[in-house]
Symmetry: C2
Subunit: 211 residues, 2 copies
C-alpha cells in the first residue's frame, strides 16, 4: 500500500496517527519522572526521545504542549530537573498506564504502582523498578515551527546502571536489562539479541563481537 502526502492528509485522523507513529520501526521507550513546585511527583511514558551527543552528554525529548504530557513539561520548566529511565518487560503494562489522564494532584508513581527513589542532590524522582536511570538538567527549549512541538535538550547530571549490565567498554546490555521497545502508540516489544558488530571499513568483512 502506498500513500502520497495528500492521501495521508485525507486519512481518518486515528488511522493517520497510528500509521505515522508506527512508520519508523521500533522506538525507544522511557519513563520520565518529574516533580511540581508543590511537591507532586509525575511519571509519564515517552517514545519521542533522541540521543543528541555524548560529550557533553545530552538527550532530547519532544513535547506536544496540548497533551497529557503537559504536567511533565510544566514540572521540568519550573524545577529544571527530570529523570529518564528504561521501561522493562516485567512492567510495560504499568508504564502504559501512566499515559492515563490523572488529576493534577495525583502522582502516577502511586496510581500506577512504581517506587519513587531519590539520588542525593537531585530533586526529581527516579523509578526504583528501572535498572538504567539518568537525571537531567534542562539546558534549552526549541520550538519546532512546523507543528509547534517543543524539543527539550537536557544534560545528564547522573547516570546509574546496575553493575551486571555495564560492559568493560561502556556498553549497556539492554537485553540483559530486559528493556522494552515501542512500536506505534500502544504496542510493546521485547528485545532479542542479534549481535554486536565490529567497526565497518570499506571492502572488509564485518565480524560479530564475541562476549
Amino acid at each position: 500500500m502506498t500513500f502520497n502526502h495528500n492521501q495521508i492528509l485525507e486519512l481518518d485522523e486515528r488511522f493517520r496517527r497510528n500509521l505515522i507513529n508506527s512508520s519508523h520501526g521500533a522506538k525507544t521507550l522511557v519513563l520520565v519522572g518529574s516533580k511540581s513546585k508543590r511537591g507532586v511527583t509525575n511519571l509519564a511514558i515517552f517514545s519521542q526521545i533522541i540521543h543528541i551527543g555524548a560529550n557533553p552528554p545530552l538527550v532530547g525529548l519532544l513535547f506536544r504542549p496540548d497533551s497529557v504530557e503537559r504536567n511533565t513539561l510544566d514540572n521540568i520548566r519550573s524545577t529544571g530537573e527530570y529523570t529518564i529511565q528504561n521501561v522493562r518487560n516485567s512492567f510495560y503494562k504499568k508504564a502504559h498506564q501512566t499515559s492515563a489522564r490523572y488529576a493534577k494532584d495525583r502522582s502516577e508513581f502511586d496510581a500506577c504502582g512504581f517506587t519513587e527513589i531519590y539520588f542525593k542532590g537531585f530533586s526529581a524522582p527516579f523509578v526504583g523498578e528501572s535498572n538504567v536511570k539518568m537525571g537531567l538538567s534542562l539546558k534549552s527549549e526549541t520550538k519546532i515551527k512546523e507543528n509547534g512541538t517543543i524539543l527539550l535538550i537536557g544534560q545528564i547530571e547522573v547516570l546509574s546502571i546496575e553493575d551486571e549490565l555495564l560492559g568493560k567498554d561502556g556498553y549497556i546490555d539492554h537485553f540483559k536489562a530486559e528493556t522494552s521497545a515501542g512500536g506505534g502508540l500502544d504496542d510493546y516489544f521485547m528485545l532479542t539479541k542479534l549481535s554486536r558488530l565490529t567497526y565497518a571499513k570499506p571492502d572488509q568483512p564485518i565480524n560479530e563481537i564475541k562476549e
Copy 2:
C-alpha cells in the same frame, strides 16, 4: 554503577561514547537514502531519528556535521529529498556496513549489496529490501547550540508499506516486518511481540488488544 556529570566528562572517550549512546535503551534503526547532484546515490544507517508529528506527517533526523553522515547531509541540502526505510533482521549486517567510509563517488547501494528502487516523481533512491519506506522533502534545519548538531525536519511525501503489514487501524506490524532495533553504536536486536494495549484511563484495567 553511578556516574555524575563530571565523572562522565572524565571517562575515556570510547567508553563514554558507548555508555551514553546505549543509555536510552532500544533505538530506531533506519537506512537513509539520498543522491548527489552528480547522480551518485548514498545509503547510511541512522539511529538518531524522532517522530515529530502525524498531521502534517513530519520526521526529525539529527546529523553530526563532521562525520561520515556528511555525504547524506550534503545530498539532502542540495536536492531537498531523501528516503527513510526500516532495517530488517535478514540484512542488519549489510546495513551496518554502510557506516564504513566509502569514497565519495562510490554508492553504498552497490558496495553493500542493496537494490536501488525509485518511486515516480521522487528523485531519491529507496531500498528494495526494506518493507516500510518513506520519501521525504526537507522542510527546515535547526542547529542545536549545545553541541553543533543539526536537526533536519522532513515532511513525508510518500509512504509505502507491504500490504500484509498494515492493520485496519493504520498500525504497521514491525514484528511481522522483521524490523531490527539498535542499542548503542554497534549492537542489533530483533523484536518479539509483547502486546498492544488499550487506551489507558485512570483507575481502569488495561487490556491487551487481540488481533
